[in-house]
């Protein structure tokens, strides 16, 4: 076995995993703060990327477009809180989950209604080509864009970790996630908190949308990256930001390695579903995921 080839596959996989983590982060945020599994996260990613790319194509400055899109995502988050979540306070989680499935289709429809349904190309100024230095020196091909995405994800996670651990709002977020009634009793404004979480999730969706859009083009199928985040969540745990990162890395690495080394034995094409196999195996060992909260009920 060629070692440098192995390293190349592994590194490529890990970096692709970071892209999954970016999407998974959005799920984790909302789940952590409101106990809702937001099925619409993929649609939010699509909506963000489509809005950004459409604005840029209409001649808007990229930074301005970024700001406008971010504002749009925050407004979207506030609207979702007001129209969908607030009337459903204290309903069982499955009701909220179904509501987010509905939301998915509404969002997909709306974004295509507003911006049209043709695919767009998105250029972020970082080419998706192997880095020359690494190729020449070690004969390992690693994409510049992948490294860039990993860097962005790293910064994002750092910011979120500080936000959750160090600020009053972060503490309030965790409190709301644990117990609505108790949170109200200590004077935490439930509605504000949800608005903030959905706003932040919108921001994460925007980042994920830009990265995925630059890689695969901005098109309807972008909503399906959400499905790739599911095995990541199963492995990392639904409540954990570090879990989402580590889960993404594991999924990315194993599916690439499996495709390259196991693929040829079964005729290839296992990359697209191998992640789910890994997640299922993982579930058998640790049903709550690596960093998920283990619920022990006192009897």
């Amino acid at each position: 076995m060629d070692f440098s080839f192995f390293v190349e596959v592994l590194a490529g996989g890990l970096l692709a995993g970071v892209m999954y983590s970016l999407v998974a982060l959005g799920f984790v945020l909302i789940y952590k703060a409101s106990g809702v599994f937001n099925f619409a996260q993929g649609a939010m990613v699509f909506f963000a990327a489509l809005t950004f790319v459409s604005l840029v194509e209409r001649g808007m400055n990229a930074w301005l477009a970024l700001a406008v899109t971010l504002a749009a995502m925050v407004v979207l988050g506030m609207t979702i809180e007001r129209v969908v979540l607030r009337p459903l306070v204290n309903q069982p989680p499955i009701t909220l989950f179904m509501a987010t499935i509905g939301l998915t289709f509404v969002l997909e429809g709306l974004s295509q209604l507003a911006w049209g349904s043709q695919p767009h190309n998105l250029e972020l100024g970082v080419p998706d080509v192997p880095m020359e230095w690494l190729s020449q020196q070690w004969n390992i091909n690693i994409s510049q864009f992948d490294l860039f995405a990993a860097l962005v994800a790293g910064v994002l996670v750092g910011v979120l970790a500080v936000f959750f651990q160090k600020t009053r709002i972060g503490r309030a977020l965790r409190a709301v996630a644990d117990d609505h009634q108790a949170a109200l009793a200590v004077g935490i404004p439930l509605q504000h908190i949800w608005t903030i979480v959905w706003g932040v999730a919108g921001f994460v969706a925007l980042v994920a949308g830009l990265m995925w859009g630059a890689r695969n083009g901005v098109q309807y199928s972008l909503t399906f990256v959400a499905l790739k985040a599911l095995p990541v969540l199963l492995i990392g745990g639904f409540e954990s930001i570090p879990g989402a990162i580590l889960g993404g890395l594991i999924i990315g690495a194993t599916e690439k390695l499996a495709e390259v080394y196991l693929g040829p034995m079964v005729g290839g094409g296992i990359e697209s579903w191998f992640a789910y196999v890994v997640a299922l195996l993982f579930l058998l060992v640790r049903p709550e995921g690596m960093f998920g909260e283990k619920h022990i009920d006192r009897v």
């Binding site: 910011v159 936000f163 160090k166 009053r168 709002i169 117990d179 200590v186 935490i188 909260e293």
Partner: protein, 253 residues
């Protein structure tokens, strides 16, 4: 007079939880609400806390009437509470739980807090000191970093009291603070309650089933039965009140 409950009636559909109940609470007093199961004690506490809105009557807190309000507003006005079935943030540590109690007192924006600059740092340290004082007072130093979900019941009750105290409330509502505790834990809890009343001057309204405890620590007692007030007075009066004895022991019809 810090709190006055006037002719409050509350019903859920056909069930009349409270019927025309009136009583008052003096500032710095320990006021107990007692009664057999289903008498409406917790409903009464929830009305005061703004969880339920009574169909009739009103609540005056510090001379201000409120009819439309929720628990969050109650918290802002200086009412804190504990719950009958412990409502702590189970995934968070004892310290973090107590810090949430100080949430309303924090003023710095989250950007300042995230960057940990000047005023935010000072503020956090100040609140941290207040939280540590409460931890010392409740003798839970050894578990301050433990996630609350792992603690035994008695300690959870204590942490919940700590979170309520962290808000520095003027009025503290305790819903069965000693339920499910052994004798020693009850004695500790009594000591804490009396100290809070004595030291911080906090007014307390508490629901409790242990008559010995109620008679020992409360200044005045309200007795509810089937949603109606049947007696109100100092412990000695209540103990000898025939209606109260009947309600608790039952009477031959």
């Amino acid at each position: 007079m810090i709190l006055s409950v006037e002719n409050v009636s509350l019903s859920f559909g056909g069930v009349k939880a409270l019927q025309d109940v009136s009583f008052d609470v003096e500032a710095h007093e320990v006021r107990a609400i007692i009664g057999p199961n289903g008498a409406g004690k917790s409903s009464m506490l929830n009305v005061i806390n703004g969880v339920y809105r009574p169909q009739h009557g009103k609540i005056l807190f510090k001379e201000k009437a409120f009819k439309e309000m929720d628990s969050r507003q109650a918290a802002r006005m200086g009412i804190a509470r504990t719950f009958q079935n412990i409502a702590l943030f189970k995934g968070m540590t004892v310290l973090d739980n107590i810090m949430t109690g100080r949430n309303l007192k924090m003023r710095c924006g989250f950007l300042q807090q995230a960057l940990w600059i000047g005023p935010a740092k000072r503020e956090e340290l100040e609140h941290r000191r207040a939280a540590e004082e409460i931890i010392d007072f409740l003798e839970i130093q050894h578990i301050r970093r433990t996630p609350v979900g792992r603690l035994p019941y008695g300690l959870q009750k204590r942490v919940e009291l700590g979170r309520a105290l962290a808000a520095e409330p003027e009025l503290l509502l305790l819903d069965e603070p000693m339920a499910g505790m052994n004798l020693e834990e009850k004695q500790d809890m009594c000591r804490f309650i009396l100290h809070v009343n004595d030291h911080y001057g906090t007014t307390l309204v508490l629901i409790e089933h242990d008559m010995g405890v109620v008679m020992d620590i409360s200044h005045r007692v309200v007795v509810l039965d089937y949603g109606r007030k049947i007696a109100d007075g100092v412990p000695a009066e209540i103990r000898s009140n025939q209606k109260v004895i009947d309600a608790y022991l039952g009477v031959a019809h």
